[in-house]
């Protein structure tokens, strides 16, 4: 009796292990995706239906709160703010009416989780990197990023910010932004920067003197220093390191091909530049910092 039971157990375990070897090769990974249809999809409203999360509707995701100048009044659906405007512009290129665009909430940390997504694409100031591209698919760029510093008026960093000076300050930034990599590789501070969960926490930390300067992309930094934190000033922006924002898709989602075409069109016809001018207030006189 005992021998029968042990044999049965070993057989079950062995079958399981053997099965492992054969399932690795073709299990649910969608890395190769269904690209056969992409080449023949026409990028029209009717043509992209089968690639959508919900038929008839373009589902766009972003985080809460939705910060200016990327969105306004924390309401992505009002079409105001650079990213809201870009999303609606892309939708229009694909043949969607404004009323056919629906917004979804996706916390940044969840946006790259494996498995099916609850949106068509996510627009949330997400920088593209090769590592990240292993987990998700990115569109081409819709904005080229530079990092900038915001500090409180009258604090030392406002006047002393040579590369050597910068090493001595405590910087703060939001988790998930690429500002941290930039700080550590370009500035190389001697004290470990502080990393906060939300941009609001970083702003709070600046106001309570827990950090000397906040690091964010230039439009965000401009908005904060001009409208949000009293007595703050944008110390300057750093030269570009090649960073850029892209729209985030589920890995292998074929819709990206049509969206890339839409972005190319918007770029060529000057829409993106006009939106940048309208919402991101790029002034050529922003002081440039050397890291």
């Amino acid at each position: 009796m005992r021998r029968i039971l042990i044999t049965a157990a070993v057989a079950a375990l062995g079958t399981g292990l053997a099965a492992c070897g054969s399932t690795n090769a073709g299990s649910g990974a969608t890395s190769s995706g269904g690209t056969a249809s992409a080449a023949t999809t026409s990028c029209t409203y009717a043509g992209v239906q089968k690639e959508l999360y919900t038929k008839g509707v373009l589902t766009v995701a972003t985080d809460k709160p939705a910060y200016p100048p990327w969105f306004e009044d924390n309401n992505p659906a009002n079409g105001k703010g650079y990213e809201s405007a870009v999303a609606y512009a892309v939708a229009k290129q694909l043949g969607f009416k404004n009323s056919q665009v629906k917004w979804a909430y996706e916390p940044f940390n969840d946006s790259y989780a494996p498995g099916p997504k609850k949106f068509d694409f996510d627009i949330n100031e997400i920088s593209v990197s090769p590592q990240r591209a292993q987990a998700v698919t990115f569109s081409t760029t819709y904005y080229n990023v530079q990092q900038a510093l915001v500090a409180l008026q009258g604090t030392p960093i406002v006047t002393k910010h040579t590369p050597a000076d910068l090493k001595g300050y405590v910087f703060g930034d939001q988790v998930g932004t690429t500002s941290l990599a930039f700080i550590n590789s370009a500035i190389q501070p001697t004290q470990t920067p502080k990393v906060y969960e939300t941009l609001n926490d970083v702003k709070q930390a600046l106001q309570t003197h827990q950090i000397a300067a906040l690091v964010a992309d230039t439009p965000t930094a401009q908005y904060i220093s001009s409208s949000e934190i009293k007595h703050s000033v944008m110390v300057g922006q750093f030269p570009s390191s090649g960073e850029h924002y892209g729209l985030l898709f589920a890995k292998g989602n074929p819709l990206v091909t049509c969206v890339d075409k839409a972005l190319a069109t918007l770029n060529k016809n000057g829409t993106l530049a006009a939106l940048e001018k309208k919402y991101l207030q790029i002034y050529l006189t922003v002081p440039n910092l050397k890291p």
Binding site: G28, L180, Q204, A205
Partner: protein
Amino acid sequence: MTGPPQTSFGAEGRGPRLLSSGRGAVAVSTASTIVVLAGLVLLFWLAPGSAAVRHTFFNPQDMWKSFIGDPKAGYYSVGAALWLNIRMFLAAEVLILILALVIAVVRQSVSPVMFPIRVVSTIYVDVFRGVPLILVIFAIGFGVPALNLGFISTQSAAVYGVLALVLSYSAYVSEVYRAGLNSVHQSQVAAARSLGLSQWTSLRYVILPQAVRNIIPPLLNDFISLQKDTALVGILGAIEANKAAEIFSDTVFNYSSYVVAAILFLLLTIPLARFTDHLIARDRRRRLAGAPA
């Protein structure tokens, strides 16, 4: 002739049943355990999304990278960050054990002189057991710096985190101490006071040692809970293990760093749990070894 009536307790003369004792039973339980575990492993392996999950959560290269860290690439070492958690919970635990004891003793006192302090202690316990720890951390970590109180307002995030942990946990642990103090029979107090020992000396040498022995499991439970709650201090910007895992994860879009953090936390807590089992067993052995004559 027939002797006294036979009392039968079941199977007559066939020895122990198959599944109740002996080698047969051990074999069956071993086999069934293997079958269940194998089944779970199979389920995990054969699920359609298994490869993606394994790559995203259990990717050895990413686990190693997150363990080592690479600040220039934008993420820190989860292993090194754990050292901050360890320092925080060691500091917090010492302070908690002291503060909670003071609160418990105050609340157990009966003298009228202590009345105002007793009231304050009760309010303190009610408030800090009621407010979620994460809110306490927020309030202290962002509130105290905002008050601009000189050097009090310029401490590091870890200091505020420890302060919040101490305030919150002392409220819980003081209740555990009270249970322990109440579990010591009043006759022990009588015996100690009858020797002419003062209230404090009785507490220190007779009551507390017995009280604490009785509450070691719940005290340890709270300590393990504390070790994990140090992760919350990350919201103040401190780079502790969970925060480092999050930074890696958000930078590289891979969750394997969280698995590394989880493994590291387990490596901390499991030996502690076994050590406590050992303490309890040793205390029992010493006290109860040998039947009374």
